[in-house]
């Protein structure tokens, strides 16, 4: 398992060897719109994911060294039978694997130069129980918490997700606008407040109040501070602590020194403002969060220095800082009903409506007011997507997004996802068992079997000449209504029990071409022509550097 230190050079070198491969025209579905994907950067780089489930019956080796890369505006299809670990992969990347029983044992997931799984190995100790094949897991809860905090801001921010059964993926007891709204509030809070501030009837008054605040803070004069913030607060419709913190944070950002340390500034703020217990509480939490996010933050400032998307970077930094405050007002029972002052609430509701319009929902206002159980599956899946897009994510992970839907609805949803990624250049990781869906929307396909990627190739070359016996069997077994004569083949046997995975190549018990070596050792991922990787001893191409 490699650590995040050694990452940077590799990613470059890998990028180059992929660039050659990716230069072939992307899949038909995405013809034209996608920027020359050769140039498009890697947004997610997953290395050697290993995820186990520690059950009574034994250790389920769900993932054994899964590695892949995801580029901007590309759709990577992750396909395989049930229990092959495709969903687990997706959850492992964002630390969403249910724990207990599951744990990401090792691996790295580089997102924007930061390793989302940093320190995952140190989160728990494993001790085999004698006499059984069970393993006792002893977690360090502090570390787990820190890890969660680290990905917390990325989840739904940079990486959004949608799930299989929309009717169960939505909370039944909160109205739609609440559930979408909290997502927007989480990731778009800053812009919202910014606009509210800008929309303030008397900007001059606002500025004056702001100056007062600064002076008061410098002087440490609480009474004046309270007074000013109250005015400001009522003016903008935010509770005072939020505005103070927001304002001060913005001040310090504006000074934008390279050695600027938000956590220090926050300490300062906390010291200066005589904050209520609640406020001190969230400031403390905010500090922790900032500690956990330091390495992420650095990447932002690198970007700033490169002069690339300066505004975005600042916006993100602000957003991260402001989120904590918003939470204090935002997150109570129906979010948008309580604790958030009226102007923000109304603004938020209309944002939700816009978002719903964005995913082509006919009557967004009624839908926004409705509850999940009043909507159909297709509708809910749209809402889920709207929720995911609230933060304009770079990566959208979709776990069987259309499996629970009818074909006609499925067509709508796939269309939506396609059009979305072309408009916004979102990278999509599409997890599904349906090779047909993959063929429709994906650029590249990774075929998984029993927790390993057995074949990875651009969609066309995979369907044109599938290399791995498993892929071949899979393709042969799909009934196609456009080829009525086709004789349905089938793969003998069934998916192995991953507590006792087969030795060597995990497919060999079912493989028609099984050789003696297949039992002994696990085949490496080799390159077979244009960016076409396969893990099988039948092929003897150069192994992928890794």
């Amino acid at each position: 398992m490699d650590d995040s230190a050694a990452v940077a050079p590799r990613s470059v070198e890998l990028g180059s060897d992929d660039r050659s491969g990716a230069s072939e025209p992307p899949a038909v579905a995405s013809a034209g719109e996608v920027p020359a994907s050769g140039a498009s950067p890697v947004v997610l780089d997953v290395r050697n994911l290993v995820t186990y489930f520690y059950t009574y019956d034994g250790v389920v080796r769900a993932l054994e060294g899964v590695s892949f890369k995801l580029r901007r505006a590309e759709t990577l299809g992750l396909v395989g039978e049930t229990g092959c670990g495709k969903s687990v992969t997706m959850f492992s990347i964002t630390r969403l694997v249910p724990d207990p029983p599951g744990r990401v044992v090792s691996g790295t997931a580089l997102y924007r130069g930061a390793n989302l799984l940093w320190g995952i190995e140190s989160e728990a100790k494993f001790k085999p129980v004698k006499g059984t094949n069970r393993v006792k897991v002893k977690r360090s809860f502090r570390r787990v918490k820190a890890g969660q905090a680290r990905v917390g801001s990325v989840r739904g921010g940079g990486i959004a997700m949608i799930f299989q059964e929309p009717s169960q993926a939505m909370n039944p007891i909160f109205p739609i606008y609440d559930q979408v709204g909290e997502s927007i509030l989480e990731h778009r809070g800053v812009e919202l407040v910014g606009e509210l501030l800008a929309a303030h009837p008397d900007p001059a008054a606002f500025e004056a109040a702001a100056d007062e605040i600064r002076r008061a803070v410098e002087a440490g004069d609480t009474a004046a501070l309270r007074e000013a913030t109250r005015r400001l607060g009522t003016a903008v419709g935010l509770a005072s602590a939020g505005v103070q913190a927001y304002y001060l944070a913005r001040q310090e950002m504006a000074e934008g020194r390279p050695d600027y340390d938000p956590s220090a500034s926050l300490k300062r703020i906390a010291r200066r403002l005589y904050l209520s217990g609640v406020q001190r509480g969230f400031l403390r939490r905010e500090l922790q969060r900032l500690e956990a996010e330091r390495d992420l933050r650095h990447t932002y400032f690198e970007e700033m220095r490169q002069g690339r998307s300066d505004r975005i970077a600042r916006g993100r930094a602000q957003a991260r800082r402001f989120r904590a405050r918003m939470r204090e007002f935002g997150y109570r029972l129906p979010v948008v009903k309580r604790r958030v002052s009226r102007p923000l609430r109304d603004e938020l509701f209309w944002r939700v409506v816009q978002a719903l319009e964005g995913v082509q929902i006919a009557n967004p206002v009624q839908v926004a007011r409705g509850f999940p159980h009043e909507l159909s599956g297709g509708m809910l899946q749209r809402v889920m997507i709207a929720m995911a897009l609230a933060s304009d994510p770079e990566i959208l992970m979709a776990d069987e997004p259309t499996t629970a839907l009818d074909v006609t609805i499925q067509a709508q949803i796939l269309e939506l996802m396609n059009e979305l990624r072309h408009r916004r250049g979102t990278a999509i990781l599409l997890v599904t068992h349906d090779l047909a869906v993959i063929a429709e929307v994906a650029d590249r396909v990774a075929v998984m079997y029993a927790g390993q990627i057995v074949e990875m190739a651009p969609v066309k070359s995979l369907y044109a000449r599938p290399l791995h016996p498993y892929t071949q069997g899979l393709l042969a077994s799909i009934p196609r209504f456009d080829q009525p004569g086709k004789e349905l083949a089938s793969i003998p046997g069934s998916v192995p029990n991953l507590i006792y995975p087969p030795s060597g190549c995990r497919y060999h018990p079912r493989c028609p071409h099984a050789m003696p070596i297949c039992k002994e050792s696990r085949p490496p991922l080799t390159v077979e022509g244009e960016n076409h990787h396969v893990a099988c001893f039948l092929y003897s191409g150069p192994t992928v550097q890794e």
Binding site: G156, A169, N171, P172, I173, S183, R332, L333, M387
Partner: protein, 413 residues
């Protein structure tokens, strides 16, 4: 909005249940010998009771004549009429709060000066219950508050920090709560506190001239009266808390705390609450034990739901995920369970009020079945039962409505 339809329907279900309960009780009653029924359900006139079939003849005491009052009773209660008629009469009486009368010979009739209970012979049962009701209600509300305040947060915590100290602690608590007899707990608690406070004579900090409140308004207030903190009866001769009934405040509502508060006697109010605290805790314990397990399990259930994963995937902080998304959903389950365990909760009152020698409806019931059959008072027995049942049913309705309010799937059908 279909909420009101739901509420009305739930309320409508109340009627058959109550009728059913009364019918069950009627069946039991009608199994009794006629004498017992006349005795406990007909008003005893000044000179003679309806308990016996015969009385001494007014003429010569040596021989017996049929008892006219008994005859009247039999006719009034329709005991010589067919069962359905009797049932109708009984229902009529019950619905008009004509629940019978405290029998002369019974323990309640004789009263118990030792524990401050006056003889209640001949008083209407409904009236007696009404007199004893306030204290029980205050006790119930207090312990309900305690239950909710402890069970829900602790249950959630032990689900979130599964198999960690909090969880183990709550598990021990719930197991012991299941297992330990209420009276044992009560007695031990009482003994412990009494000895901790330095002997049975211990008094509440709110009473006497050393009471903080008294010191604040020195002179302007009468000295709050003192009585031993525990093991003191809570009623005086006028069925009124005797540490309040030093004769200088009236009782508009009958609820001791409320009355004290109305009179601005914060010391007395505090005193009353302190006296109720221990019993309330003891009653709460068993229910907390039950509720803890359910809260924990439902929370675990909820935490495995997809929408929790969605909430996490949205990037919400764990606190929000748990407090808002999981907490609200598990709350629904909690509330239903609370409704189911309410009957069990009620059964704690006779016991606890006996342990602490408090006079509420519970102890009224206990006293109506105490000792040998001579001391029993069937009228009070059935009356208190009806009262408690009504309490349970109403509580269940409230719970259902609450549940519907919390869960749109129920509310909007």
């Amino acid at each position: 909005m279909r909420m009101w339809v739901y509420v009305v329907r739930r309320a409508a279900l109340l009627v058959p249940v109550l009728i059913g309960v009364m019918t069950v009780i009627f069946v039991l009653i009608s199994a009794l010998p006629v004498q017992d029924r006349t005795c406990s359900f007909y008003h005893p006139s000044a000179h003679s009771s309806p308990c016996s079939t015969e009385v001494q003849c007014p003429g010569n005491p040596s021989q017996n004549c049929p008892n006219p009052v008994y005859e009247q009773a039999v006719n009034a209660l329709g005991l010589n009429k067919p069962i359905p008629v009797q049932w109708a009469i009984y229902m009529g009486n019950t619905l008009t709060f004509n629940w019978g009368y405290v029998a002369k010979g019974s323990a309640l009739g004789l009263g118990n000066t030792g524990s401050g209970l006056p003889g209640l012979a001949g008083q209407p049962v409904a009236g007696v219950v009404a007199n004893f009701l306030p204290y029980t209600l205050e006790l119930a509300l207090l312990s309900l508050a305690i239950i909710l305040l402890i069970a829900i947060p602790l249950g959630n915590l032990s689900a979130v920090y599964r198999n960690r100290p909090v969880d183990q602690a709550s598990r021990i608590m719930s197991f012991s709560g299941f297992a330990i007899p209420t009276f044992l707990l009560g007695v031990l608690a009482l003994g412990a506190v009494v000895f901790a406070l330095g002997g049975p004579g211990a008094q509440s900090p709110f009473c006497g001239a050393h009471s903080p409140v008294y010191l604040d308004f020195y002179g302007s207030w009468p000295t709050p009266p003192c009585a031993p903190l525990y093991g003191t009866s809570n009623i005086g001769i006028n069925q009124y808390p005797n540490w309040l009934s030093q004769g200088y405040i009236s009782s508009p509502t009958g609820f001791p705390t409320v009355d004290a508060a109305i009179h601005g006697q914060w010391a007395l109010a505090g005193d009353t609450v302190i006296r109720m605290l221990l019993p309330a805790l003891v009653i709460a314990y068993g229910t907390i034990a039950v509720l803890l397990r359910f809260v924990r399990n439902s929370m675990l259930e909820v935490m495995n739901q997809d929408y929790i994963r969605t909430a996490r995937a949205k990037g919400l902080p764990e606190s929000t995920v748990i407090r808002k998304h999981a907490g609200r959903n598990s709350l629904n389950v909690t509330i239903t369970v609370l409704g189911l365990t309410f009957a069990g909760f009620i059964t704690g009152f006779p016991v606890i009020e006996s342990v602490f020698q408090l006079w509420g409806v519970g102890r009224l019931f206990a006293y109506s079945v105490i000792g040998s059959p001579i001391n029993w008072d069937l009228g009070v027995l059935f009356g208190t039962t009806i009262f408690f049942t009504i309490l349970v049913v109403v509580a269940n309705i409230i719970v259902d409505v609450l549940y519907a309010y919390l869960d749109p799937r129920v509310r909007l059908g």
